[in-house]
């Protein structure tokens, strides 16, 4: 079952240092290309930027050596490279907007958020010595998640942008609480499921060959999940509701191994999607803009304008891209946030986009590897949940931009403009590194978790607080 032991013997801090050098080179190089091609050339600004990037990388690496010495060496450099690419592209889009007469400072703001995100992640690694501490706050996390989701509906601080009421304004900054709610719900789901998985899976009536859980076992989680979904539907945040639904189903499956529930979940989702398309005009409109994007009547109505402009941008990038700073990403509305993937596809080409997708895939698979490697069930569920949520979020965003699924508003982790997303995703990296540290050090030195080797593996999975 567990095959990771031999891999985990090497802790890989040197690999991390080497990969961080590459990540810094990508971040600084991308910015340099933008300055050379789209701005007045490489100047003092780049030197300051490069200094900050290197300083952050060194600081993060040193802290990881001290506080999470066995953490997965790939997570930090991959997140660093993605953040650097995003910052370069957002800076580039500022320049593109300037050409079109718009004065924006997304790049500077986002750089600030990136610093906060990375420092925040380091604080988590520094202060949270064991992720299992979070289990104490299972229900608190669920409550916080719901409150965070509801905040945009509170008059005064809630704000509606483009029909979706998912922002709040705090201290003059706008925040998207659903990004943090996602982490809170992962903690809540993990905590709840690890405590109740056996009763969920084994007790309860059997209907049509499918064993259904007892309502009292499933109740709390269903209530939280349904509430979250309802709130998001009310806020017209289709992307986030899709993400939460998928996340819940995946975590339920990991906890109970009940494939039939996954099928029930997917079936429910299908029914829900069709029903939403029939009941809500704004959903039907999205479907139409997706299926008939290039149809002149749909395009001229403006519904598929952004999507089609994004496709045009990516098409013009072709295999190798126009080169950073040499395309026209500014033509696409929200090129710096919702459509940053199209901007990157245009200027870096299919090759660059594949590389970016591969980076994400590495992060997600490393999360899954940490989930497999760690011995407590809570950690497994958190790592798998966070990894899957990142994968699903990317699928919803990139799939929307490349017309696999209807376009919904979700941020691209690390790349897209937006402080909440940046901070939340760096927190995810911190949690994953914390869990992987435990997974890899416990593999190297099993005494740290001190499981009795005579116990069945399933109980080991549940950790020392396992419910029978």
């Amino acid at each position: 079952m567990a095959t990771v032991q031999e891999v985990a013997v090497r802790v890989g801090r040197r690999s991390e240092a080497a990969l961080l050098v590459i990540a810094c080179a990508i971040a600084i190089g991308a910015r340099a290309f933008v300055d050379a091609n789209a701005a007045d050339g490489i100047g003092r600004g780049l030197a300051i930027y490069a200094g900050a990037v290197v300083a952050l990388a060194v600081a993060a690496h040193v802290l990881v050596r001290l506080r999470a010495p066995a953490a997965d060496p790939v997570l930090l450099p991959a997140a660093f490279a993605l953040t650097g690419l995003g910052l370069a592209m957002i800076h580039r889009i500022d320049l593109a907007y300037a050409d079109r007469g718009r004065d924006t400072h997304f790049g500077t703001t986002q750089a600030g958020w990136a610093v906060i995100g990375i420092v925040g992640a380091m604080l988590v690694i520094g202060l949270v010595r064991d992720h299992r501490l979070l289990r104490r706050y299972t229900y608190t996390a669920g409550l916080l998640g719901l409150v965070a989701l509801l905040l945009p509906l509170v008059p005064g601080i809630g704000r509606e942008v483009n029909g979706a009421r998912i922002w709040i304004t705090l201290f003059g900054r706008s925040l998207q609480p659903s990004e943090f709610a996602k982490i809170a719900f992962v903690v809540f789901f993990a905590g709840y499921l690890v405590s109740n998985r056996d009763t969920l899976a084994l007790a309860g009536p059997k209907v049509l060959g499918v064993r259904l859980p007892r309502p009292r076992d499933l109740g709390p989680i269903i209530i939280v999940w349904a509430a979250a979904l309802l709130v998001q539907i009310a806020q017209r945040d289709l992307g986030a509701s899709l993400l939460f639904f998928g996340l819940f189903v995946a975590m339920l499956y990991v906890a109970t191994q009940r494939l039939s529930w996954v099928l029930v979940g997917v079936g429910l989702f299908g029914v829900g999607a069709v029903a939403a398309g029939t009941l809500f005009p704004h959903v039907a409109s999205r479907y139409d803009a997706w299926l008939n994007a290039l149809d002149p009547s749909v395009y001229d109505s403006g519904r598929s304008y952004q999507l089609v402009q994004g496709l045009f941008g990516m098409a013009s990038g072709g295999l190798f891209g126009t080169g950073l700073g040499s395309g026209s990403p500014g033509l696409v509305p929200y090129a710096e946030s919702d459509f940053i993937v199209a901007s990157l596809g245009e200027e870096l080409g299919l090759t660059g986009l594949m590389a970016i997708l591969a980076l994400y895939l590495v992060v997600v698979q490393r999360a899954m590897r940490a989930a497999i490697g760690v011995r407590d069930g809570f950690g497994k569920l958190i790592a798998a949940g966070l990894g899957f949520s990142m994968a699903l979020q990317l699928f919803v965003v990139v799939g929307g931009v490349t017309r696999v699924i209807p376009l919904t508003g979700l941020t691209t982790p690390f790349l897209a403009y937006g402080g909440s997303s940046m901070i939340a995703n760096w927190l995810i990296i911190a949690l994953l590194m914390r869990i992987s540290d435990l997974a890899r050090s416990s593999a190297a030195a099993p005494s740290r978790v001190a499981p009795s080797t005579s116990r069945p593996q399933d109980l080991i999975d549940d950790g020392e607080e396992a419910h029978a």
Binding site: L311, F312, A315, S316, S328, A371, L392, V398, T402
Partner: protein, 489 residues
């Protein structure tokens, strides 16, 4: 829990593979069709956003790409746009391109194979791709003189150097300003284009070579006369010139202009027949010579051949197998005989050039951005249309037209001008005739040959003749050409 986590990992992998496939679909498989979508302005930016070479006349760039601060980077600008529009054409994000902008596009935008080494240099040095400059054969003063002389009248002027075929002037009126089509708004460009297209006077048509061809009228008598000389006639050969020519097998007749007689008797010399542009004599002569002889002569002058200069020239047409009355009509440039002004200029030029037809051309030299010569046009012969002796005889006859015939308005003091008028029925009832004049000068050693066409008689309407309307225009063009080449009387 590890087994379901592995399964979830596989699902994740599938999600990513889907994304990679969809990205490939957008950026590779359907990239071409998305790139060609008219709503995709990026294709326009790429096409229009590079430095395009200038079009040069007499050392001055009449078409240039000027740097501007918009996504296109460069604005195509046309100096004296209307003057050169029939030659340069336009380069527009709306309706596309025409003229040399279209014909020489690969040289102008730098993508031509001829510029391979230049591009390689640019690749190595990292500079952006630049187009070549295209230097024309046009002479600015001749072009200007022709344009001014045409004034508000509809028609065309072509001036050639008979010795080389170099086109000294190519004017078509009314014209348009290509700058208005080069605006960086496709809706505005299309609006301007639609307005030009809807204009009944056809400003977008280059009348000198394209679109409509015209009945050449009496200027076609040069072809018939050349065929007669080839058949053994001389300038003094007497030919029948009745006041009214009855056409065999019909009740139709041919008369002379205004019903006049061509001479005191029933017969005139070939020279006099051309001098006074005797319709009955040439109609009869055409029937006597037979259509194959005339058609062969016309074809020797280039009639019916494909020609690119490098603009595509509409083929001038002849009737296929005319009967006798149709041959008579054709002999005076009516019935189904159709010509472009360029074709008529080529005839004048060939007669002036000892019978040798030179291939007309507009582009003299193409230079890369470093001013190295990439292409240089060498004058080429299209063949001997008539013998040097016959050409000399025809020149004498054409001098008589100007000195003592239908075109006194083309006389230039101290310079012998050889010419031929034409006044062609359009075949539409109530429409004034097209007036023509073709000429070359100086007759002994010509440096310029010219054809002038004024549609529907210009401002004279039904009173118009080639001698009255077209000849003065030709004279102005010839004078400008002589002055430009330093030839004085």
């Amino acid at each position: 829990m590890n087994e379901p986590i592995r399964r979830v990992s596989v699902v994740v992998l599938l999600l990513f593979l889907t994304l990679m496939a969809s990205a490939s679909w957008v950026q590779f498989a359907s990239a071409d069709s998305l790139g060609q979508d008219p709503r995709n302005v990026r294709t326009l930016y790429r096409q229009f956003g590079s430095f395009r070479g200038p079009i040069v006349v007499d050392g001055t760039s009449v078409v240039r790409s000027l740097p501007v601060d918009d996504p296109f980077n460069y604005q195509r600008t046309y100096t004296d746009g209307a003057l050169y529009a029939p030659v340069t054409g336009y380069y527009s994000i709306g309706p596309g391109s025409s003229g040399l902008e279209r014909a020489e596009n690969e040289l102008l935008n730098g993508s031509s194979d001829a510029l391979f080494w230049t591009r390689l240099g640019e690749l190595v040095s990292g500079t952006e791709q630049q187009g070549a400059s295209v230097e024309l054969t046009l002479s600015a003063p001749v072009q200007q003189a022709a344009f001014d002389a045409m004034g508000d009248r509809r028609g065309a002027v072509v001036a050639l150097d008979p010795r080389t075929g170099a086109i000294l002037a190519m004017v078509s009126t009314p014209s348009y300003d290509p700058t208005a089509l080069a605006v960086h708004s496709s809706s505005e460009a299309n609006r301007v284009y639609q307005a030009l297209l809807a204009d009944q006077t056809g400003p977008l048509i280059n009348r000198a070579i394209g679109g409509d061809t015209y009945p050449p009228g009496s200027t076609f008598k040069l072809v018939v006369a050349a065929a007669a000389l080839h058949a053994g006639y001389s300038t003094d050969t007497l030919i029948d010139a009745p006041d009214v020519l009855e056409l065999p097998g019909t009740t139709a007749t041919i008369q002379n202009y205004g019903g006049e007689s061509c001479g005191p008797g029933e017969q005139v010399t070939l020279l006099d027949a051309l001098r006074v542009s005797c319709n009955t004599a040439f109609a009869k002569l055409a029937m006597d010579l037979g259509w194959p002889a005339i058609a062969a002569e016309a074809e020797a002058f280039g009639w019916g051949s494909d020609l690119t200069i490098p603009l595509d020239v509409t083929k001038s047409r002849l009737p296929d197998t005319p009967n006798q009355p149709q041959i008579a009509q054709s002999g005076i440039g009516q019935f189904d005989v159709r010509a472009t002004p360029l074709q008529m200029a080529m005839i004048a030029a060939a007669i002036g050039n000892n019978g040798v037809v030179m291939k007309p051309y507009l582009v003299d030299t193409v230079r890369d951005p470093d001013l190295r010569v990439v292409e240089q046009t060498t004058p080429t012969s299209l063949g001997q249309a008539l013998s040097a002796d016959d050409a000399a005889a025809l020149t004498v006859m054409m001098q008589a037209v100007v000195n003592d015939g239908t075109a006194p308005a083309a006389q230039i003091p101290g310079i012998s001008v050889a010419g031929k008028t034409g006044t062609a029925e359009t075949g539409v009832d109530g429409e004034s005739p097209h007036t023509w004049f073709v000429a070359f000068a100086p007759a002994e050693n010509p440096v310029v040959a010219v054809a002038v066409l004024v549609e529907n008689g210009g401002d004279l309407g039904s009173e118009a003749t080639g001698g009255k309307v077209a000849a003065p225009i030709a004279r102005a063009v010839i004078e400008a050409a002589l002055a430009a080449q330093g030839v004085t009387g």
